[in-house]
């Protein structure tokens, strides 16, 4: 079965979505990611969507759900690389992805994850 690969980098997981996802593939990613977070005790997930030319309400909901599920599993999620045209369209569609942390690119996303998890370590 077709799957989106999840890479492990220490306490973080990295996902790069490079295909035009059909709905089942998006749901599969959600299942795989939550399972990976639990299995690896990951503290952060970075989802790179820079190759996505479109985010509709289904994919938007998947991103929101992954963030919420991650939060419940004590894992921070950052979505990075959204194309400007996609952001404009999403907001006009009526979705502002509440509760989803975003960063401009992978580098900034990683630094955001490190900051968030470092604060947790101090706690």
């Amino acid at each position: 079965m077709e799957r989106i690969p999840i890479l492990r980098m220490g306490e973080f997981l990295l996902v790069t979505i490079q295909v035009d996802m059909h709905d089942q593939l998006a749901l599969q990613l959600q299942d795989d990611l939550t399972a990976s977070i639990a299995r690896n005790r990951s503290r952060g997930v970075l989802i790179d969507i820079s190759a996505l030319e479109m985010v509709d309400s289904f994919i938007g909901r998947m991103l929101s759900d992954i963030s919420s599920m991650g939060r419940i599993l004590d894992c921070a999620t950052v979505v990075v690389g959204m194309q400007p045209a996609v952001a404009i369209t999403l907001v006009e569609l009526g979705l502002s992805l509440p509760g989803v942390s975003t960063a401009l690119n992978v580098e900034r996303g990683m630094s955001l994850l490190r900051t968030v998890t470092a604060k947790d370590h101090e706690r």
Binding site: D23, Q24, E53, S57, A85, I88, L93, L95
Partner: protein, 134 residues
């Protein structure tokens, strides 16, 4: 109004939604839409194609390249033979859903295009037409 090129694509599976998005992207590029306008009509098409599949039990997407008063546009019609929509006004409001969606499909798709028409009767299926002009 003269119709220059037209065609039809099936909406019978999730894979067909992906194919419909890619078809609409190619049409919008052919009409030299801006990247934002391409993204808007592709996203609207994705929402309506999914509605036709999930709520309408499948159907088809008809596309037409149009020109009117010196400007070009892309018209897409999504038709299904599903149960239809009893209360169109309610179905068009933000956040309303009969299924597991976010309820942004119809109302959101309308915001992404220039022209929007919907026809539906209980038992007689649903037909949604959208046009984005360049």
């Amino acid at each position: 109004m003269s119709v220059e090129i037209a065609g039809e694509a099936p909406l019978r599976s999730e894979h067909d939604i992906v194919m419909a998005r890619q078809l609409v992207r190619r049409m919008a590029q052919q009409l030299t839409f801006s990247l934002v306008d391409q993204t808007k009509i592709v996203t609207a098409a994705s929402e309506l194609a999914r509605n036709a599949l999930i709520y309408g039990g499948g159907g088809c997407m008809r596309w037409e390249l149009q020109s009117q008063g010196g400007r070009n546009g892309l018209k897409l019609t999504f038709a299904d033979e599903g149960p239809g929509i009893a209360n169109l006004e309610l179905a068009m409001s933000d956040g309303w859903t009969s299924g597991s969606g976010l309820g942004m499909g119809l109302s959101g798709a309308r915001r992404l295009v220039n022209d929007f028409e919907i026809e539906s009767r209980p038992g007689a299926g649903t037909r949604v037409s959208i046009t984005r002009w360049k």
